[in-house]
Symmetry: C2
Subunit: 200 residues, 2 copies
Amino acid sequence: MSSKGDLTRRQIIAKSMQLFSVKGYFNTSIADIVKAAGLTKGGLYGHFRNKEEIWYAVYEECGRVWKSVVFEGVREIADPLARIARLIENSLKNYLGGRVFEGGCFLLNSLVDLAGQSPNMSHHVLKGFQGFSKLIHVWLEEAEEKGLLREGLNLVEIANFLVISLNGAAPLFAASKDPAVWRQTMGQLNYYLQTLRKEN
Amino acid sequence: MSSKGDLTRRQIIAKSMQLFSVKGYFNTSIADIVKAAGLTKGGLYGHFRNKEEIWYAVYEECGRVWKSVVFEGVREIADPLARIARLIENSLKNYLGGRVFEGGCFLLNSLVDLAGQSPNMSHHVLKGFQGFSKLIHVWLEEAEEKGLLREGLNLVEIANFLVISLNGAAPLFAASKDPAVWRQTMGQLNYYLQTLRKEN
């Protein structure tokens, strides 16, 4: 692909991301995207066959951005519980509080937008969240093996609960723009995480 | 209003609730509502001036349904922490797990759908969630006065966190239809609530 073609493709993805985030997928038309990207319909169809294909490219790009923010400085932390705490801080303070996407979390918004209307697309988003939860689960298992956790914890349940709570902060922050939403969620998730640690 | 008129009005609200829940507010047209309710445009405009007015009526009706499920048997519980536990159970097992609204939680979906597009309407939904959090806060204060809580807790933060976590379960359950979502959230929120109790 020529570098000009590549630039156009990235422009389509960037403008679509903005439109999908704020207006929603179904409410955004190909005509909206063509207009926002300053293209002709033919220019757009040279890069994507349809709106669904654009959505998958936008999702991939959002996932890349999300990962770069949420995993920043995480993997080099040796203590798996401190690693999870950093993941929580990155997710709430830097990703959500940093207002990385206009209109809130594109990934969560997509889930709400697509559930009940497009099983394939909402399943795709769901798989992303499940992967995130699975990774936290692996780190909790590592914490357990290192003897850092109290006895008898349900690690799958804890991992899912963390993802659920992080997701819960997104729409309330998007609507209120009140930093208390992510700050308070961070405060309580940190407290919760500490209660899992074995007392010394 | 005649009882026939009242019936038509309720029919418009019921059909709009379904359409807004599944398709979203902006993606639902007056023509969609007219068709789903089996009316003429004139028949609809005899009851509502515009789509926004219908949304407010739908929101009110959803709020009524939500309250009837979420507060069932709650107020008669003397221990404020047990009262909050029942609220959590009702919200997750009976409201979310009971699939009261098609397409997930209408209230949360509205927040995602409207944030960034209609400040007035999303503010209206947000006020509902804030009222819910305020009530939990009052019950936590009651628990504190009764000496049931550990020292030094941030009760506003705890109340908001509970609402945030409950909200986080809604989109993941709507997309996955997996009861583990509400069950695991209930398990961990109950555990969390117990950690707030003063040890005897």
